[in-house]
Amino acid sequence: MIVVGSGLSGAGAASTLGELGYDVHCFCYQDSARRAHSVAAQGGINAAKNYQHDGDSVYRMFYDTLKGGDFRSREANTYRLAELSAPLIDHYVQQGVPFAREYGGTLVNRSFGGVQVQRTFYARGQTGQQLLLATYSQLYKMVKAKKVTMHARSEMMDLVTIDGKAKGIIVRNLVTGQLERYAADAVVLATGGYSRVFRLSTLAIGCNGSAIWKAHKKGAYFAGPSFTQIHPTALPQSSEAQSKLTLMSESLRNDGRIWVPKAKNDTRIANDIPDEERDYYLERRYPSFGNLAPRDIASRAAKERIDAGYGVGRLKNAVYLDFKHAIERLGLETIQDRYGNLFKMYKKITGIDAYKQPMMISPAAHFSMGGLWVDYELMTTVKGLYAIGECNYSDHGANRLGANSLLQASVDGYFILPNTINNYLVGEMKNEHPDTAHSAFDDAEKETKAFIDKILAIDGTKTVDHFHRELGKVMWQECAMSRNEEGLKKAIAQIEQIKTAFWSDVKVTGGDGLNTELEKAYRLADFIELGILMCTDALQRNESCGAHFREEFQSYEGEAVRVDEDYSYVSAWEYNKGDFKLHKEELEFEFVEPTVRSYK
């Protein structure tokens, strides 16, 4: 069995498959499995435990998730997510995750955006780290048991299919540059999100879309590629040279209040602006959810204020997140206990003490709801190829609720895949094990080698980062928080130009051994193509839903207008020699009547 990725989904799947007795090979591009980007999640993980007796239930969580996703996901998947959430917390506690506790020793919860109950479990501001380290430990438990072989610094370059079935992968050893072949009865992709297509995002620098893109080119449909979440509370960009945006956990919105000055170009420092001259715009527009409005809505509202000229900070690209009232109400100590490490991190990066002045925050690309299309068993349209965690399109629809994706990645890996994959393997393992000497491996390896050699041979005049910045600008401008037909058409043309320029003018020095510049280059080459598909997808969807906001489809109050009659489907794209063919999976709602998603 091959598992590509060692995040919550990949490491969870690899260790559990190992426990079931399979012989597993797990791959990651970092130097250790423990560094997968799941490690960076701060806020928490949701579960319908109803520990707080505030009326939570599996049904309620299912409903919140479906509604949060603006009714663009399958009911059955979403229900399963909610159902498996409670046992997952049991599972993590048993693995030694030090979740926050009450003085009496029971588990604590807090609330997160888009939800009115407290169902989020957390470990300080390092929940993802604690879950990942627990999962990594389980992975190494199975390495010790000799059921899992871990390949770090190993990047999947291509998928190998034999008779239309996934049978292996081509891997580049990032230390030696050698191409290696691995064969298996099934291949599981758990490669995380692709928001680095925007260049500036909350993702790690190495996060890529390459593995799923290569699989897409080998026949796996790509679903909802344009559904990408822009997070409302990241640190603003401060210079052109910036390489990433740091997230400030959404949990801060539990106690922090978001505002901008009522007057344009107000140059006073934040603390000098009296309350009546502040516009708490989320509380004003969405009185019942206020600062806890879902991410897409909070991001768009911030963009609206910033674009209208009310932004703050040196580049006028930010809004305030203020803890003054919370500190008055709850005391400094409580705020320190809840968010201490986030305030520390804010200070390290900006040099500002947020206990004394409000934070400045800004929207940033953060999560991909889109990904490889999977059926209820998490199998893609290529037989024997599975996609789990953030790299698939499954439970979140057009917008993901905070703290639901650590959950999704975990249950995909630990609970769902190790059960469903047997249905396929039962038939498949009767056949002979695939052999890396098969001509399909020769072909795939040759293709990969040609791809790398071609990049190295261009010897142009511009750096990889130059092209990534260009791509990022176009994607952020036209395919992020707000989109329109004209802009998307223009974006596609511009990305085509970037593609041509990249393939004729990029310069990568060094050879095909350890070469970090080369790694960036081949990942970018795939991002460029993915960018075109994202714009194509956004263009075909003539409605606004969740994170996909088409300016032509909004109410007079500026709220999203969904068009259920025509667009109640998941778009699943087939790759066809550089073109994309649309397939539609109609969504049927048996239990919930899709309503207008209101958080007012």
């Binding site: 426990e19 970092q30 130097d31 506790r101 190494y140 390290k348 630990y414 060094g510």
Partner: protein, 248 residues
């Protein structure tokens, strides 16, 4: 802003390395230290030279992949900070900045500033887990854990596995890293069943990998980005002793 970087270049583990000098202009105080190196690398590419190899991933202080010596200090001039969190405002215009890889026998250099820290994974492999299979867990609130116990476990569990503690230690000891993991698991009720085996297996592997012994100089604690306390090492030693009496 203008600085002069002196950076360690080394082709691979077996070749000899040296410090090369790179004057860099056009930096700003807002840039992170790694962005300044990115900037330098872009210049090198344009000049047709091979880029400097250094490590990072999250660039927000949590993955533990970054880490170099900067002017003789692990992760740079500040206490409790990762390399990726360092910003150029911590340097003065015209400064010379010496950048070297982690130096420890158990962390062989792979190229330039990149080292091999897989020894850490092998220490984890020996026992940093609770042996219960997926699907066998009891209800989460069935075992109450006092907040103080859970908080202490969390303090220890926060280690990001960067290796600064080893790199900065004159004995190249991995005691801070190893003890943090042992104390995290051994202090929780779920981890108790295997506590003695864990402490023995992990400390044994630590020696096996060639890490030195701890002589309590405390240098590691200061460089540790997560502020993992030195007390962890004393606690680990106590646990080791306890296992002699109570382990089997």
């Amino acid at each position: 802003m203008k600085v002069t970087f002196k950076i360690w270049r080394q082709e691979d583990q077996n070749s000899k390395g040296e410090l090369n000098t790179y004057p860099v202009e056009g930096l700003t105080e807002d840039m992170s230290f790694l962005e300044a190196l990115d900037h330098l690398n872009e210049e090198l590419v344009i000049k047709g030279e091979e880029v400097i190899a250094y490590e990072y991933d999250c660039r927000e202080g949590i993955c533990g992949q970054c880490g170099v010596f900067i002017n003789g200090r692990a992760h740079g001039p500040h206490d409790h900070m990762t390399t990726c969190q360092l910003h150029m405002r911590s340097f003065k215009d015209g400064d010379t900045i010496v950048v070297e890889p982690w130096r420890a026998k158990s962390f062989p250099i792979i190229k330039d500033l990149i080292v091999d820290r897989s020894a850490f994974d092998r220490i984890i492999e020996q026992g940093a887990f609770i042996s219960s299979k997926t699907g066998t867990a009891p209800e989460a609130n069935a075992i109450p854990i006092p907040k103080a116990v859970s908080d202490r476990a969390m303090d220890a569990a926060a280690c990001i596995g960067c290796g600064a503690c080893v790199a900065t230690c004159k004995n190249s000891s991995a005691a801070l890293f190893t003890s943090a993991k042992i104390n995290h698991l051994n202090s929780l009720p779920q981890g108790k069943a295997e506590q003695h085996e864990r402490v023995n297996a992990m400390t044994w592997q630590m020696k096996e990998e060639g890490f030195g012994s701890c002589t309590f100089t405390g240098a590691c604690e200061i460089e540790c980005p997560e502020g993992i306390s030195l007390i962890n090492i004393a606690e680990m030693n106590a646990r080791k002793l306890k296992s002699l009496f109570f382990g089997d």
